[in-house]
Amino acid sequence: MTDAALVADVAIWLFGGGSVVAAWLVFRTDSMVRAAYWLLASFVAVGMVMVLLQARFLGLVLVLMMAGEMTIMAAFMVMFMMNPAGLNPMSMVHQHTTAKVAGVVAFAGLAFVGLVAEFPDRPVDPASEPTAELGEELLGDSMLIFETAGVTLLATMIGAIAIAGKRGRFGNAQEGSAPPPVDPDAPAGPDAHPSPMHGGHGGHGGMHH
């Protein structure tokens, strides 16, 4: 085994192991932003493994796509999760045992198949140009799949916006929508806020030396 091949092998193990660790941390953190970016880390590690396996374009494009997607994921999770930064320790799980068992079973089953099944040893030619081959495939035999993807994405865009948005320019006051907030805790005027000098907030109100 040459040095370069050894380095590549070690790198594959490091990234492979890293992807699993990062994936596990996704569900071990209370901060939604961290969870999303641990997932991104897992994707990046898998992308690097792909690069090392000669699927260079796919590995890089996975990183490119997921960086955007996971940032959006983080933004949405922060938007819709109570306590999004995990300031209060929390546990948002149910049917924990079932889930654990299912996870382990899925892992064991798939790993067993992976270890037992016989796969032919036909590695990809390092001199090949996988990006160009993918392009030819897309424009040639799989042209319909390619165009179908376009239609699917169009349907996704329209569907997503129709579901998520309100009719018309969303956000403008519309019939039936709530009036401006009358939140008892919202600032209503100067008197609503005790001056920091007197009130003190959670023990932080400053005092003079």
Binding site: A23, F27, A35, M73, F80, G114, P130, S142, T156
Partner: protein
């Protein structure tokens, strides 16, 4: 040997994804579980393509399709979360059950 270990790694990713998708209560966290499962699937696909599939273009196409599925799932998933939250102020599956029941 390399292939087998990569498949074990992808099985681990898939297993963690299954655990996450089943155990989490919020929609978005469930989506993360699903994305992890797809991540494992992609890794397995590329491993088979690179080590055993002699770099057949169809293998790459499969990964591209998985990527598309992920994008579609994410976009529609988030849209649903917004839509549901807009109507019910609920972001957890169980809260949804209660509201339905």
């Amino acid at each position: 040997m390399e292939l087998q270990l990569l498949l074990v790694v992808s099985a681990a990713l898939f297993g963690i994804g299954v655990y996450g998708a089943l155990s989490q209560q919020t929609f978005v966290m469930i989506m993360m579980g699903i994305e992890l499962m797809l991540n494992g699937a992609m890794l397995a696909g590329v491993a088979l393509w690179g080590v055993s599939g002699a770099g057949a273009p169809k293998g790459q196409l499969l990964i591209v399709i998985i990527l598309t599925v992920m994008a579609v799932e994410a976009a529609l998933g988030f849209a649903l979360v917004i839509g549901i939250f807009r109507t019910r102020q609920a972001d957890m599956t169980e809260m949804l059950d209660e509201l339905q029941g």
